[in-house]
Symmetry: C2
Subunit: 395 residues, 2 copies
């Protein structure tokens, strides 16, 4: 009666939904403070004070036209500010005609993929990855090609990517700092990837876009460097969102920046702007376009995230779990002590710990722990993790 393929996939995904329902069930029985929910990437923090002040100022001033349609690409002044910001960080010359304001990164990815893909063209994604990339690619009638990152470091396996490139390859999606691993791809690996792409383009006579999904770009610790994608790859498209950096996930606000080094970038932007409209976004929410444009240099307090990371990372590794110390984002990707990560998550739930199997990110054998939560909850959870470790004889 409905979209059959979709309805079928709904019943498949019921395992994860069952886990969320399990969480709700546990909270009812044991109380909210005795359940340790690390399952969602929903920032616990409120937006920075400057952002809330900007919002208040716009709303209280009652500026005319603040809630009206504008060009489907976004307000010209907002796009100018974003272009200047992107240019400053990348060194690549950008102006407002390189920018499309979008309803968050998920919107930006859907718009971008639909703008570049012809039916059957391939997009390489680096596992583990946010699996909805696959759905976005499918919506654009493309084909997802999964390439694993390196086994121990989760860094890009450039050789494997090069081997996966075919004459149908149209793009590669990069997400660094990464969800779910928290890893930042090294400059060396990105430059090496660029060379591999250029070799393959020359060999096969094709054009490959590098799509960089960057919601975690401001969440970086210990002074780690996140190499700028626009400065490395010629045909690169940056997609940013303010969901994590300004803790505004509910407001759906982000942007696409298409490098001016892309041949015929004007046509690409026209296609994106048209799709922004016809895919149903129409434009990024108007009030928050104005708000973020005045706060491009602002970010949430990364020190508090760092504290949470350190507390949980130090404890988990002390009690015998294995995990790369991530330089960015707000996830720990912990090796499950047994092969079956789904079973391990079920074990964790016995101690009221809610975590997500790596299988859900095409990273089997691992679990994702989202530490964008109240630090009090992390403190209360430490003992439960110790019991979990003990059950598996890690200490």
């Amino acid at each position: 009666m409905f979209n059959n393929k979709l309805v079928e996939s709904l019943s498949k995904s019921s395992m994860i939904r069952a886990m969320f329902e399990e969480g709700a069930r546990l909270k009812k029985i044991y109380g909210d403070d005795k359940v340790y929910d690390f399952s969602l990437g929903n920032p616990e923090v409120e937006p920075p004070v400057q952002v809330l002040e900007t919002l208040k100022n716009y709303v209280n001033r009652g500026e005319q036209g603040l809630h009206k349609y504008m060009n489907n690409a976004g307000f010209p002044d907002v796009r100018q500010k974003v272009a200047a910001y992107v240019q400053k960080n990348s060194g690549v010359q950008m102006n407002e005609n390189n920018i499309v304001m979008v309803c968050g990164a998920a919107a930006g990815l859907n718009v971008t993929l639909k703008a570049i893909l012809n039916p059957g063209e391939e997009v390489i994604v680096l596992a583990p990855f946010f699996v909805e990339y696959g759905t976005y690619i499918e919506h654009a009638n493309g084909k997802t090609v999964v390439v694993n990152t390196k086994k121990d470091s989760f860094q890009i396996d450039v050789k494997a990517v090069e081997d996966a490139i075919t004459e149908k390859t149209k793009a590669i999606i990069i997400n660094s700092p990464n969800n779910p691993t928290g890893v930042i791809y090294s400059r060396e690996s990105l430059e090496s990837l660029n060379q591999a792409i250029e070799r393959k383009e020359a060999e096969l006579g094709i054009s490959i876009f590098v799509i960089s999904d960057e919601p975690y770009i401001s969440l970086v610790y210990d002074g780690a460097e996140v190499p700028n994608i626009l400065s490395i790859f010629k045909k690169s498209i940056q997609i940013n969102s303010f969901s994590k950096s300004l803790a505004l996930p509910g407001e759906r606000i982000g942007y696409i920046a298409a490098s001016s080094n892309i041949p015929e970038v004007g046509t690409l932007i026209s296609a994106m702007v048209t799709l922004n409209r016809t895919l149903g976004f129409v434009n990024a929410p108007s009030l928050f376009q104005k708000v973020i444009a005045d706060n491009l240099e602002v970010a949430v307090d990364t020190e508090s995230y760092k504290k949470k990371r350190d507390l949980l990372y130090n404890h988990l590794t002390e009690i015998g779990f294995k995990c790369i110390k991530p330089d960015g984002a707000f996830y720990l990707f912990v090796k499950a002590p047994i092969e079956d990560d789904v079973a391990f998550c079920a074990s964790a739930a016995k101690y009221n710990i809610l975590i997500v199997p790596g299988t859900g990110f095409r990273g089997p054998g691992y679990v994702r722990i989202a530490y964008c939560v109240d630090i009090g909850m992390i403190e209360r959870s430490l003992d439960a993790f110790a019991k979990l470790s003990k059950e598996y004889g890690l200490r």
Copy 2:
């Protein structure tokens, strides 16, 4: 290098873009106040005072969690309020599980079509219509079947619809008050359409959804009745937006209400909620969900729109143009005095009047005049329309 089919369609649509550029050119030469731009459905009015007050209250109170993710369907309390509102107006029992908050009506239509269509299934649209329906249907891999409304009244030609129904028909889109005609479909025609649908469903063993796109539902004049679609059609899906009724088009906020009379409506809603996420909307903007939920009974001042309609309608018919007096929306759909409506719009542009050819709405031989503009501009334009009438010897 990009999506070929899309890039091709971009060059086709350049005629309309050329007209917009012509508008900008004219304004530069003659000044803003000497160009009469009736081309866009972008409400000139500001949101009602109550709406702006609600917005201020939320922002100044600084409620926690106002900008966070929520269920992809929207905040539960918002959905409850919307459900109660829809139930009150339709008499159909509704609760929060019948409601999905969406990023405006265009989002709602994309989500709905993708949720119900299997590849190749047909959707009937009633011409003239907002042509992007066709693009939305294409994105959902469906096929658009255009059925003309009645020649003089733009009312539904039920016999023609019935004849167009095949075993592949999955839905019919209704838009009343209509863009571009401003016509409200009569209760009689809707009830007759319902009977035709039920006959065909029984005959062909199929299920047909009625998708009602209702952005203009609050813009009604002279006490005209807009029959409630949920109360007439069993398998009906209402899509509403606050772009016109609350003059918030830039904020992208609306809802889907799926009738509880739809068999397995829970599965349909699950599909919609999943698509809301994977199509890239994720959720309707959080702050404005809260704002509209407190203003469901509010609407912009329709008296001011009525004044504009009357001023322009009376003048145009007096000077010899032919036009149905529309009961709703903010458009006049005027018969072009020559067959070629595109050529007629070009003639109008000579008098600095910017209007849109009916051909763009699959209503050739007519032009659409959007009167959601400053009344001063309408007053200043009257003389230009008189000259245009004179050129065609209408008076």
